[in-house]
């Protein structure tokens, strides 16, 4: 009943492509962003920034990347962590080995691009191989990445296991000195990630409502028909891999830089790929916003659960038990969600919204 659509009509096609056709949505979104930018940094404690908001943003980027590939273009991938790994290492190396003027955002973009190219290489098989058979290619990427950086310690600057990322990497365009603000502070990192994530999400949104996005979905829904009506299927797939891996790469870099603050190979083991896959599934395949809903749920669920565990049972059970129970619940949650609503949280949200719009009518 909040939705007052009467009297909102379009006089041009541009208007019809608005991101938020319903005024209410527009204002809600604007408020939300303002809150995120101007309020959060001041009210949120370092713990909240460091242990909740920043990781969610980093995960979200990677999830969005995977969603572009799997959800939008229908190419199943288990290599996400691998691509994140590439992104993280490249960013580190670019920052490490390039002259003064290099800056984190720029480095991220470069690293993302390189990751994207690698993505294309591992995506090439998708020209011939379809469906589950494609898993083998992405898994190859996953293991190759781990092996590669393990075998060539050069990329880890010959450190053992992990390197701590130097703070000066964060100083964007020397803002740090000039205004003498701590660019390595969590607030700064949070805002940086937020900015990047917002930009990327917006880009993805635009892409999806344009010709490219339609090509993606066409390839997903029925690639043979797509080719007959003249969609360049191969190019589309490759593009999907590039964009997706770009996002994953940036995600990986944020993951290390903004969240963990250390770079290491073990961060990007196989199960990270699954974690992100869940985020996408639970959030809703093919939905940009969904990627973030999923991220939040998947990331917060175990935390909440163990917290609840401690809170309720006052540590009657040891953490291992709680973790296992969490895992069980988690598995059940996934299966239940798939049974109840294959569209994931995004679909749930959409139905709720639809309900609001058609109230008092059942449909």
């Amino acid at each position: 009943m909040i939705y007052r659509e009467t009297g909102t009509f379009i006089t041009s096609y541009i208007e019809d492509r608005k991101l938020f056709p319903i005024p209410f949505d527009k204002w809600a979104m604007a408020l939300f962003m303002l809150f995120m930018v101007f309020v959060i940094p001041f009210i949120a404690s370092d713990y909240w920034l460091a242990a909740h908001l920043i990781p969610i943003l980093a995960y979200g980027t990677a999830a969005l990347g995977l969603n572009l590939l799997t959800g939008m273009t229908g190419q199943l991938s288990l290599g996400t962590a691998g691509f994140m790994c590439f992104g993280a290492f490249f960013t580190f190396n670019i920052m490490l080995r390039s002259p003064e003027w290099m800056n984190l955002p720029l480095a991220l973009m470069l690293a993302g691009t390189v990751t994207g190219v690698i993505g294309i290489i591992f995506g090439l098989p998708s020209i011939r191989i379809k469906g589950f058979y494609l898993l083998v290619s992405t898994l190859a990427a996953q293991y190759f990445a781990l092996w590669f950086f393990r075998s060539y310690p050069y990329f880890l600057n010959y450190a053992t296991a992990t390197v701590t990322l130097p703070d000066h990497h964060f100083d964007l365009f020397g803002i740090g000195e000039t205004f003498d603000v701590d660019m390595a502070s969590f607030e700064a990192k949070y805002l940086l990630s937020l900015g990047i994530v917002t930009a990327l999400a917006l880009f993805a949104k635009n892409l999806m409502r344009s010709a490219t996005g339609r090509n993606f979905m066409a390839v997903r829904d029925m690639d043979i028909a797509a080719s007959v009506i003249g969609i360049p299927v191969i190019r589309t797939k490759m593009l999907a891999f590039f964009v997706s891996c770009f996002y994953c790469g940036v995600g990986g870099a944020l993951f290390c830089y903004a969240y963990l603050q250390v770079l290491g190979i073990r961060t990007f083991e196989m199960n990270r790929s699954f974690e992100i896959l869940f985020m996408v599934i639970i959030g809703g395949l093919g939905s940009i916003a969904g990627s973030f809903y999923g991220t939040i749920l998947v990331y917060e669920f175990p935390i909440l659960f163990s917290w609840a565990g401690d809170y309720i049972f006052k540590g009657a059970f040891d953490t291992a038990v709680v973790d296992n129970v969490a895992k069980i619940m988690y598995g059940i949650l996934i299966i239940a969600l798939l049974i109840r609503e294959p569209g994931g949280l995004a679909a749930l949200w959409a139905t709720a919204k639809q309900k609001l719009r058609t109230w008092p009518f059942p449909h």
Partner: protein
């Protein structure tokens, strides 16, 4: 000077940048401001005058509600021509008759289908056919055809031309010739002057303070007098925005987009929304159905209190407000009624339940009474009239009097006369008063109550009075009954032929898991018959209470195998029943109703199928 041209120039001066005409085409609402409208009109007018359109030329406008059609109105009016609006779905003999009876010389057809229809009808005095939409017109070589878009190119917009024309205009000039619906008597072409239309529109506008900020939806067929008054004239007088829907089947959708503040609709429109809504609610048996029902009860109680003129309890009022906010404001949003300030109905009696419903949910619905002879609006309810039995008080400057039971009126809005038919004119006017052929009475507050068409009133053989319109209105109150006709004048007892509303009756039947193949089958279904019978019995009980009406109780009824259709000439473009045609067409059925037959088998001329209708006793 009260001419449409004068109004156009004035609006273009005062509100040059405000939206004037909007039409949804190709998915977007393309909008003309008043200034643009003026320029377009000037261009079109120049072309038309070159083509010999001048003072008194009958100019047919044949097509859907569309900006270009109304531009043509203005162009013709600025040249002093007479606009003959023709409903987009007219064709064949019907079309020929209309063109003939108003001797149209020039005609504007919207697109191919209309051109074809025109080319088909022979021996008319049409000299030239203009058309707007060029799609599919490539291979047409007829000399009388002329494509507007090409010929308009190169003509300069010139306000001067219009102003010059304005000098020559006179409010007495005939603006349009509209055909009476011919529900009672045969249809007659009525001449209306600029002055009359503008005066009527103006008095409505002043009374309801309609301004340039308002917006309305022009969706009624062009040929309807109500469209000419409530869309065209009202827009010109007030400078509000007129919006034309994309196509017939998107009207509801477009209504939501535009959210008009002023709406005129014949009763069927409101009935449609009413049934559509309740059908939508019924279609699912869920919690929200219950909530909705409760909310409806809450508002209805308060509404009935108001109707009876007494104040309800505070609790009632609280519930009422709550229901309105939580349930009916979203409801209005969905049907695009949220911004509605003034909802008008007229041209036929509206079913009390429908009327009360809209009043209850907070729509300021008013009944109007009018006739083509009186520019479609003679009296109008005020928002204090909480029930639908009266049609309100006359517009300013208009008088109504009752002469031996018949309603007469006179005022600025009255017609100029019947086109080229002096005796008809004489027959329906007497020393400045216009007769309505309707029976009615004025109450102590000077409100008019209409009883129905005199020609249809009469006495039963028993000697009891007989007012079919009143009965039909009661019948139509049921959401299941869509159309109804009652016969009985000069007969032993009244009988009814009704048609059921397909959509909601289906839902009703499905919930009872009845077996049926189609509409015809459903309408003949025993339990549907039973449902209708029960409803008729209720009406009879109501009639029995009052000695005057006791004799009017319905004895027998039949449910038709299809709805009455415009294409069969049974209803007017505004869905009003053409009683005489219907009575003619279904004579056999009526006779069967007066026999003691229990069923009636006939071949429906519409689809050459044979049907057997059960005839029910109430």
């Amino acid at each position: 000077m009260d001419t449409f041209l004068a109004l156009l120039l004035e609006q273009a001066r005062k509100n040059s940048d405000l939206p004037a005409l909007r039409t949804k085409r190709m998915g977007i609402w393309d909008t003309l401001t008043w200034a643009q409208t003026r320029d377009k009109v000037s261009v079109l007018a120049q072309l038309l005058s070159q083509q010999g359109v001048g003072v008194g030329t009958s100019f047919g406008v044949f097509g859907p509600n569309h900006t270009d059609m109304y531009l043509a109105y203005l162009a013709v009016h600025s040249l002093g021509g007479v606009v003959i609006p023709i409903d987009s779905n007219t064709f064949g003999e019907e079309l020929r008759r209309q063109v003939q009876s108003t001797d149209v010389e020039h005609i504007l057809a919207f697109e191919q289908q209309h051109v074809d229809a025109l080319l088909e009808c022979e021996q008319t005095c049409v000299k030239r056919i203009f058309y707007i939409n060029r799609r599919g017109m490539e291979n047409y070589a007829q000399p009388e055809l002329m494509s507007l878009p090409e010929n308009l190119e190169g003509i300069e917009a010139s306000t001067a031309f219009l102003e010059q024309m304005d000098g020559q205009r006179d409010s007495g000039e005939i603006a349009t010739i509209l055909l009476t619906s011919g529900t009672g008597r045969s249809e007659r072409p009525v001449e209306l002057s600029h002055g009359a239309l503008i005066a009527t529109a103006r008095s409505i506008a002043q009374r309801e303070t309609i301004t340039k900020k308002d917006g309305l939806l022009a969706y009624l067929p062009l040929s309807a007098s109500s469209d000419f008054l409530f869309s065209y004239s009202l827009t010109m007088v007030t400078g509000c925005a007129m919006n034309c829907p994309e196509s017939d089947d998107t009207v509801l959708e477009n209504m939501q987009e535009i959210g008009p503040t002023i709406l005129f609709g014949p009763p069927y429109v409101y009935k449609y929304i009413y049934t559509h809504a309740s059908n939508r609610i019924e279609s699912a048996r869920t919690l929200d159905t219950k909530i909705y029902k409760a909310a409806l009860r809450a508002v209805m109680t308060v509404a009935s209190h108001r109707a009876e003129g007494r104040r309800g309890s505070f609790v009632d009022w609280l519930l009422f407000m709550f229901a309105r906010i939580t349930t009916f404001s979203p409801f209005c949003n969905i049907y695009g009624l949220s911004r509605l300030r003034l909802a008008l109905t007229g041209g036929d009696a509206i079913a009390p339940d429908v009327f009360n419903f809209f009043r209850a949910i907070g729509i300021d619905l008013r009944e109007t009474y009018g006739q083509v002879e009186g520019c479609a609006c003679v009296t109008m309810q005020s928002s204090e009239d909480w029930n639908s039995d009266s049609v309100g008080v006359p517009l300013d400057g208009t008088e109504v009097r009752i002469e031996n039971g018949e309603i007469w009126f006179r005022g600025p809005g009255q017609m100029k006369g019947i086109h080229k038919n002096l005796e008809a004119t004489a027959e329906s006017t007497k020393d400045g008063w216009v007769r309505t052929h309707d029976a009615g009475h004025l109450d102590d507050q000077g409100r008019l109550h209409v009883h129905g068409q005199i020609s249809r009133m009469g006495k039963l053989n028993g000697g009891g009075a007989f007012a079919p319109d009143m009965l039909e209105t009661h019948l139509r109150s049921s959401e299941y009954i869509k159309q109804a006709i009652v016969i009985g004048a000069g007969r032993e007892y009244p009988v009814a032929i009704v048609t059921v509303d397909g959509t909601i009756t289906r839902t009703w039947a499905d919930r009872r898991s009845l077996r049926y193949t189609g509409y015809a089958d459903l309408s003949a279904h025993a339990s549907v018959q039973e449902m209708v019978r029960e409803y008729l019995q209720k009406i009879n009980e109501f009639l029995a209470e009052n000695p005057e009406t006791a004799s009017m109780q319905l004895r027998r009824f039949a449910i038709l195998n299809r709805e009455f259709m415009a294409s069969a000439g049974e209803v007017t473009p505004t869905r009003k029943l053409r009683c005489h045609e219907v009575a003619e067409k279904h004579r056999g059925l009526i006779d069967a109703l007066y026999s003691d037959a229990l069923e009636y088998t006939y071949t429906d001329p519409v689809d050459e199928e044979s049907y057997t209708l059960p005839l029910g006793n109430v």
